[in-house]
């Protein structure tokens, strides 16, 4: 049991930069650039880890605590999300809602830290981040509702298991509607274009980057890693809620676990590539157009719920 937990942590930490690297590479490909190597995120983090942090004179302990708490919260969420196996040792400790709130906790502390230094950019980033989170949340909850109404549970392991048990029957209209809705949400949550541009450092457009502007060195490494992990986790949510096929449902041999893991990596990469394609094919939106995007997602989720009701013939 403990081994499984540690292994899951290890997998998450190990895979997260890879996903990030792949996505950057794909984006570069579409932008007809060469782009950095797939392993570049690993190098970046290692580099940061070797450097000292420069700290502002204005900050309080919140600034120091924030990366730790945020990182732990994201990682804790990772323990509740099925990656390659549905029988999570700690699955009982929380469900989908808990995962969302753990992400919220992480965001909360990051945003707090952004205010701590007293810079104008930090506040801007924090404000926008929280704004987007508020936009996302109702849509997210509705899409969860759609899923949960279908399955009758919010336990992620249970959902994966049930959906994968259904086989291809699971591909129903509401499932697809909910998936698209959740995909849009994922864009926002991972800070991708058109919501945020992870590559920019232009003050007026950045959101996530603005929040962590004051971090450097080791602290920055942790923050960056946390962001990557969050991205990975959200993708795996997408993968394992809607396409859980191939996931190990427990009681299987080691070979099956390896296979499940492989399938998971492939799924993640596919989603990553899709995301990168979407990202390169759109332009960043103005902040105040974002509610439109979110209302699309909201509507889709709502339709999904209606579809559930109709299909189930309530």
């Amino acid at each position: 049991m403990i081994a499984q937990i540690i292994f899951q942590i290890f997998i998450i930490i190990a895979l997260a930069p890879l996903l990030s690297g792949i996505m950057k590479k794909v984006k570069a490909f579409f932008q007809i650039r060469k782009g950095p190597g797939i392993l570049q995120p690993y190098y970046d983090i290692l580099k940061f880890l070797q450097k000292d942090s420069v700290v502002s004179t204005n900050v309080s302990w919140i600034f120091h605590a924030a990366p730790i708490v945020s990182f732990a919260a994201v990682l804790a969420a990772g323990l509740l999300i099925p990656i390659y196996i549905t029988q999570l040792s700690l699955g009982f400790a929380g469900d989908l809602i808990a995962v969302i709130y753990l992400f919220a906790l992480a965001r909360f502390f990051t945003a707090l830290a952004s205010l701590d230094a007293g810079s104008s950019f930090g506040g801007m980033g924090g404000s926008r981040e929280m704004f987007i989170a508020s936009l996302v949340e109702p849509a997210l909850m509705l899409s969860i509702f759609a899923v949960a109404l279908n399955v009758g549970s919010t336990n992620l392991g249970f959902i994966s298991q049930t959906v994968s048990g259904l086989g291809f029957d699971a591909m129903s209209p509401y499932q697809i509607l909910a998936f698209v809705a959740l995909f849009i949400i994922a864009i926002a949550e991972t800070g991708r274009i058109p919501v945020d541009n992870p590559a920019t450092h232009l003050e007026l457009t950045m959101i996530h980057e603005a929040m962590i502007l004051e971090y450097s060195g080791k602290q920055l490494a942790i923050v960056e890693l946390g962001a990557m992990i969050k991205q990975l986790l959200i993708f795996s949510l997408l993968a394992n809620i809607f396409f859980p096929w191939g996931i190990a449902t427990g009681g299987a041999g080691a070979a099956e676990y390896v296979l499940a893991l492989l399938i998971f990596v492939i799924k993640i990469i596919i989603i990553g590539i899709t995301m990168a394609v979407v990202e390169t094919s759109t332009a960043k939106w103005r902040l105040f157009r974002l509610p439109e995007l979110m209302s699309i997602s909201l509507m889709l989720s709502f339709l999904a719920i209606v579809a559930v009701i109709i299909v189930k013939g309530g």
Partner: protein
């Protein structure tokens, strides 16, 4: 218990002259009373219903009746009172020499007593008396600092709104009494059975409006953002923390006990009103610069969340799903308990901030985390709880609320499912905005550089205040990580008015303090484990940070290469909430005023910016009503012309009319 409060009240009047002794006497006896209240209520929850009748023979029957539901509310009140009383002994030092402490102590004790009586009353007349007593006393507390005009306005709006509410309550009671022929609550119980559906509906609607005015549901909420900031902070902690809950208590009493929650559309009404209150409450809170007003708006939000739970419970109950109904009721009760704890904590926190900085404008604060480190931690706990961050208390109750909404898949009712899902979406939005709001609050108040002289001279508050807050902070954490010990109790209470409990049937407690709701489907949560995971996982980054640690270079905040060392460059609270303001432009109807002076055509010398938002309900609902009444009154006043001839003419006129009446009737 009653005696202690009375002692507190009387001693504070007697010891009027000596401020400090007076405050100790009144607040410590209140605390002692609260302790007894805790013991008493726990004994009732686990024991027998308490019944005490006074003066049976006279026209006004008075009696006390405490069942499990009442006991729970007494418990909530007592806990809050205990912490707030301790806080108060420190807090009132602010008023020494300036205000009459004796009066505060007296009113404070009577106020608590009246709340307890409201919960215990077993007779509609007695209930109305103590209910209004509670309102009146709290009105006096609101206008404690009556020198300020805005306080007077607050008091006035408060008392009028509460009076209107009482009017509706009266109507509702009249319907009951008309059926049962008596004003005793016992007979009301059976009255529900014999009433026609229409009467039931009316009784429910009147009661809902009447108690809603006290609870602060939209659109009857307008008094809250005035009254709570105006009152001394320890009082606002009680008003917001517990007083508005008494209304919830009566809503439960009336809709479940008296009326048997028979109409399913009641649940939808409660749900819809709760949802609207939650979302509008938090929307106003987000953009509010006054910290106490913000907390008041947030109370509206939380009442909304409680009502969502309650509404869901009523919907399930009416659909013959008592077990699920019990779950929703538990969620509501749990959130109620939590809210009284963290809102009390936050109001005390606001009190501490005001105590040490003398301002409640968020734009003038900042950076006081360095001056008030302990308060900051305690308030941070409150902030995390109210933002529903795991594993703090708010999370558990919101989780439960979500789950109870989700359980709608058990219903065979499409409309219910859609309503509950929409409500869940709004609840999610509310939650996110609450986090936004309280992030802003904490960040702007405590972090970065001080924005004014007020904040620069802040000091840590005294020990009683910290102790009061600390108690609540501890409770917030405990309620967050140990729900398994609270839920069975709440289940007993919910069972007392729903009929069946959910425990052992739908909710169960597993290993590792795990709570699961239908465990067959694996929905479960275990906050202690979450906390443990979080703590253990924190080790990873912490270790990374600590390995090979050298002295951290300290440097100025980065400002695009330019040094920024003043607070003027900080992001302001208004700016922080600007996106929401833009998003909900149609609700806020923001108006801005700018004023710039130029020393030369190209160089601005100074710039003033002011933005205001409209209180839509006041603007478009209440003001027109008031204007209408005023205009009509002005016209009506013309009949008093001052001319004696006209007056005699009236008499002549009325005589003629009555004659007509007689002749018409006579022939």
């Amino acid at each position: 218990m009653v005696a202690f409060y009375l002692i507190g009240a009387i001693s504070s009047v007697i010891l009027n002259k000596k401020d400090s002794i007076c405050s100790y006497f009144s607040f410590f006896s209140a605390a002692a009373g609260a302790l007894l209240g805790v013991i008493f209520s726990i004994s009732v929850i686990f024991g027998e219903t308490f019944y005490l009748a006074l003066s049976q023979d006279s026209y006004l029957e008075f009696g006390f009746f405490v069942d499990k539901l009442s006991a729970f509310f007494i418990l909530v009140i007592s806990i809050s009172v205990f912490a707030v009383s301790i806080f108060s002994t420190g807090y009132v030092k602010e008023y020494f020499g300036k205000k009459n402490i004796g009066r505060l102590g007296f009113l404070y004790n009577i106020f608590i007593l009246s709340m307890i009586f409201v919960i215990c009353a077993n007779n509609a007349i007695m209930f109305l008396i103590v209910w209004e007593l509670m309102s009146v006393i709290s009105f006096f507390l609101v206008v404690y600092e009556h020198e300020k005009p805005e306080t007077r306005k607050a008091g006035f709006i408060y008392i009028v709104m509460t009076h209107i509410g009482t009017g509706f309550i009266l109507l509702s009671f009249m319907i009951f009494a008309g059926t049962s022929g008596s004003f005793s609550f016992e007979t009301f119980n059976s009255a529900g059975l014999t009433m026609t559906p229409l009467l039931k509906d009316l009784a429910f609607i009147f009661a809902f409006i009447g108690f809603g005015a006290k609870a602060g549901i939209v659109p009857l909420h307008i008094w809250l953002p005035y009254a709570h900031p105006a009152a001394p902070s320890n009082v606002s902690a009680l008003m917001s923390g517990v007083m508005i809950k008494t209304a919830i208590f009566m809503m439960i009493r009336i809709s479940f006990d008296f009326l048997g929650a028979s109409g399913s559309w009641w649940g939808y009404i409660v749900l819809a009103v709760g949802t609207i209150s939650a979302i509008l409450g938090i929307l106003y809170a987000v953009v509010e610069p006054d910290i106490k007003r913000m907390l008041a708006f947030s109370s509206i939000e939380n009442i909304g969340i409680i009502l969502i739970g309650l509404g869901a419970s009523m919907i399930f109950f009416a659909s013959q799903k008592p077990i699920i109904s019990a779950i929703a009721a538990i969620a509501a009760l749990y959130h109620l308990l939590n809210h009284s704890v963290f809102k009390g904590l936050l109001f005390m926190g606001a009190g501490s901030i005001i105590y040490s900085t003398h301002t409640k404008n968020i734009e003038e604060l900042g950076g006081i985390i360095k001056k008030m480190p302990l308060s900051a931690i305690l308030i941070l706990i409150g902030v995390l709880s109210i933002s529903a961050m795991p594993p703090f208390s708010g999370f558990v109750s919101e989780w439960l609320t979500f789950q109870s909404l989700l359980l709608s898949f058990n219903l065979n009712n499409n409309f219910a499912i859609i309503m509950l899902s929409i409500s869940a979406a709004f609840l999610a939005l509310t939650g996110a905005l609450a986090a936004y709001c309280f992030l802003k609050f904490f960040g702007m108040v405590f972090l970065a550089l001080p924005r004014s002289e007020h904040a620069r001279h802040a000091k840590e508050v005294n020990i009683p205040m910290l102790a009061g807050m600390g108690l609540f902070a501890l409770l917030s954490i405990l309620l967050g990580i140990l729900p398994v010990y609270v839920l069975p109790v709440l289940d007993m209470i919910a069972a007392s008015f729903i009929g069946t409990g959910a425990f052992g049937q739908s909710i169960s407690v597993g290993t590792f303090w795990m709570i699961s709701i239908p465990s067959s489907r694996g929905i479960s949560i275990s906050t202690p484990v979450l906390l443990a995971i979080l703590l253990i996982l924190m080790l990873i980054p912490a270790i990374i940070l600590l390995i090979n640690r050298r002295a951290q270079p300290i440097y100025e905040t980065w400002g695009c290469g330019q040094p920024i060392s003043t607070a003027r460059n900080e992001y302001s609270a208004n700016a922080f909430s600007k996106p929401v303001q833009m998003w909900f432009k149609s609700l806020y109807r923001p108006a801005r005023e700018t004023e710039a002076t130029y020393s030369s055509p190209y160089l601005k010398e100074s710039f003033r910016f002011e933005s205001k938002i409209e209180q839509v309900f006041e603007q478009y609902l209440y003001n027109p009503i008031v204007d209408f009444v005023m205009i009509k009154s002005r016209k009506a006043r013309l009949i008093q012309t001052g001319s004696i001839h006209a007056y005699l003419g009236y008499i002549f006129g009325i005589l003629t009319i009555l004659f007509m009446f007689i002749i018409a009737g006579g022939s």
